[in-house]
Symmetry: C2
Subunit: 197 residues, 2 copies
Amino acid sequence: MNYLAFLQKEIHSAAFATIAADGRPQVRIIDIMLCDESSLYFLTAKGKEFYRQLTEQQFVAVTGVKDQKAVSLRGKVRIADPALLDEMFEQNPYMKEIYPGNTRKALEAFQIYEGEGEFFDLTCKPVFREAFTLSGSTAYALSYHIIDACTGCGSCLAVCPQSCISSASVPYRIAAEHCLHCGACRKVCPSGAVRFD
Amino acid sequence: MNYLAFLQKEIHSAAFATIAADGRPQVRIIDIMLCDESSLYFLTAKGKEFYRQLTEQQFVAVTGVKDQKAVSLRGKVRIADPALLDEMFEQNPYMKEIYPGNTRKALEAFQIYEGEGEFFDLTCKPVFREAFTLSGSTAYALSYHIIDACTGCGSCLAVCPQSCISSASVPYRIAAEHCLHCGACRKVCPSGAVRFD
């Protein structure tokens, strides 16, 4: 599955988080206008606090959901080629009603060009998650996993909501792609054999 | 319109933003389990980074959208009465599949109990926005407005995408509830009469 295309075409209206002037998080809904193989494009108006935050922080966290399938990512942001503005309006004609005629000049095109994210699907049983990068390189994601200190006592098996711990061999093995990250296994393990890193 | 109820019942799956260990924003989709007149309730698992961030920062920014109607808010967070956990599962029975049986013990209930937000409706022409507080007290929101330095030259009228500046009297007047915050009027005003505060 192409997660960037899913985010742009299917979810389309996503949440973009930055840090506000008070040092705390701020988040608002932004439509994703275009995507290519390794980046996303969106617009904002030059008079907004969001514009100032983007140009200063050059970083944004994004998430969106549709039908219990969510995509989240964090990445670097830069101002995009202004020539893309007209293409964005062609691909998203509803924008012509919000910014009619020449008023689109108030807008700036931005690109998320580097970063990593995660897809999370609650419609699967067990749930399914997968990390990805915008560049297509191997993604590194934090995960719960079991180290050699595992004695195979079985305590963790009873508390895993997704039954995604295999006891076929010792140390036991957590199927990271089905893990909720709830931490119940780590809490009950008498041997300190569950790690999250 | 009751914006908290719209966020909980209609949007339901919203974006929750915090600050990650790297000092940058992080955002993920969280379902809003319950609401009352002045607060929202949600769950997260104790093994998650999000749980740690919530207990440390005691603050969260939330946004969600449905059918081009968005609600965003920022507010204080605290751990809620654990007795609410079972009520949340009763009101949201799909949670029983994700955390079956006793595995719900891995979860903690949180409450957003103080804060302020904004409703934004793109289906209206012109767009409609309204600030609100969780407590029901008068909301204070940043807005574009025109001060006495306005000469009535008309420059701003031509660039407002929503045609929401009235020239019936001088100083002109911006209808804040229909303003996109694009800043085009401020940019073209030769008298510096447009403020955003």
